[in-house]
Amino acid sequence: MNCEQFQESIFDSHTTESKAHLEVCSPCAALLTQVKDEAHLLSTAKTPEPPADLWDQIQNQIERKTTIPRFRVVSWISIAAALLVGVMGYLVGQNPTKVHTDKPLQLNVVEVSPEKSRSLVGFVPGYDQEDTQQALANAMVPFPYRRDR
């Protein structure tokens, strides 16, 4: 083994060949000592501690990703309010005989999200299911494209 070969395998210096080379080559022995000192220095250097609130930051971001952003909830509440107005307007204007005057139309928005938007139909108690469906459809479609019955 020559010096070049030893340096290529310096991290395997425990082999028989390496040991034999070290016995006859003082520069390589010195280099190995140097590498070991450097390794010791590098392995004992401390690194700073991560911020104490790092977990809180991560947890917040996970929660934000797994829940509906607030602006979307607000926006769906606005849509629900518009639908309520639309339903009332349709029922009063198109088919007033079906309106139960003793029981005013009430749209209760318990929870609103894209996944639950379809259940809005069921939140109009006391009214004909077909009418409410049509009213909701009309409220969501711009006037020129509305298909009135």
Partner: protein, 190 residues
């Protein structure tokens, strides 16, 4: 020893299974077990505490979902460090700060800078010396001397040959030698 390692692997795999099945406490345990090492590796590669904290946060957010596709073929730690180290190398390459730091160190020399928040000034000097290396060499130094990984583990984690690992490590030593020599002398003087 290998039994201990296997036991640790099994425990980690159990935590992954619990996390995937919806136990939120399991992810917290994974974080508690590995976040310091992920932070330390990131710190050594990108060179700044703030960036290292951002990277650590990004890595854990990334694995939160990706743990669902964990194949239970390797150790969780290896998988996690692969994600962390590659992420940090990419970030360091993007920033390409090492050129600027090399110029600064060559200009100013390595002098005590007051140290990190908790560390000794000499730790900060070693850290600054490491920043002279390319991000890939920083990763090698970090994995070998901070994490204490074997050459085989490093080759597996970085997806390179054993020979590449050793030659990169040798190159890192060659580059660091003149810088570390001054630090060794300072330590002997103290």
């Amino acid at each position: 020893m290998s039994e201990i390692v296997d036991k640790s692997k099994e425990n980690d795999w159990d935590l992954v299974r619990e996390h995937v099945s919806g136990n939120s406490e399991a992810f917290r345990k994974i974080y508690e077990k590995y976040h310091r090492k992920v932070f330390a590796s990131s710190y050594r590669i990108v060179g700044e505490e703030e960036q290292a904290a951002d990277l650590t946060s990004e890595v854990f957010l990334k694995i939160y979902n990706e743990l669902r596709s964990f194949k239970f073929e390797s150790k969780l730690s290896t998988w996690l460090f692969r994600v962390a180290v590659n992420h940090a190398i990419n970030r360091a390459n993007e920033v390409r700060r090492h050129t600027r730091i090399r110029e600064k160190i060559e200009k100013d020399g390595i002098r005590p800078s007051g140290g990190t928040k908790e560390g000794r000034p000499v730790d900060e000097e070693i850290h600054r010396a490491i920043q002279v290396l390319s991000p890939k060499l920083r990763a090698i130094v970090s994995l070998r001397y901070l994490e204490g990984l074997s050459y085989d583990e490093m080759a597996d984690l970085l997806d390179v040959s054993l020979g590449t690992v050793k030659s990169r490590l040798f190159l890192a030593h060659e580059t660091l030698r003149p810088l570390l020599k001054g630090i060794s002398l300072e330590l002997k003087d103290v």
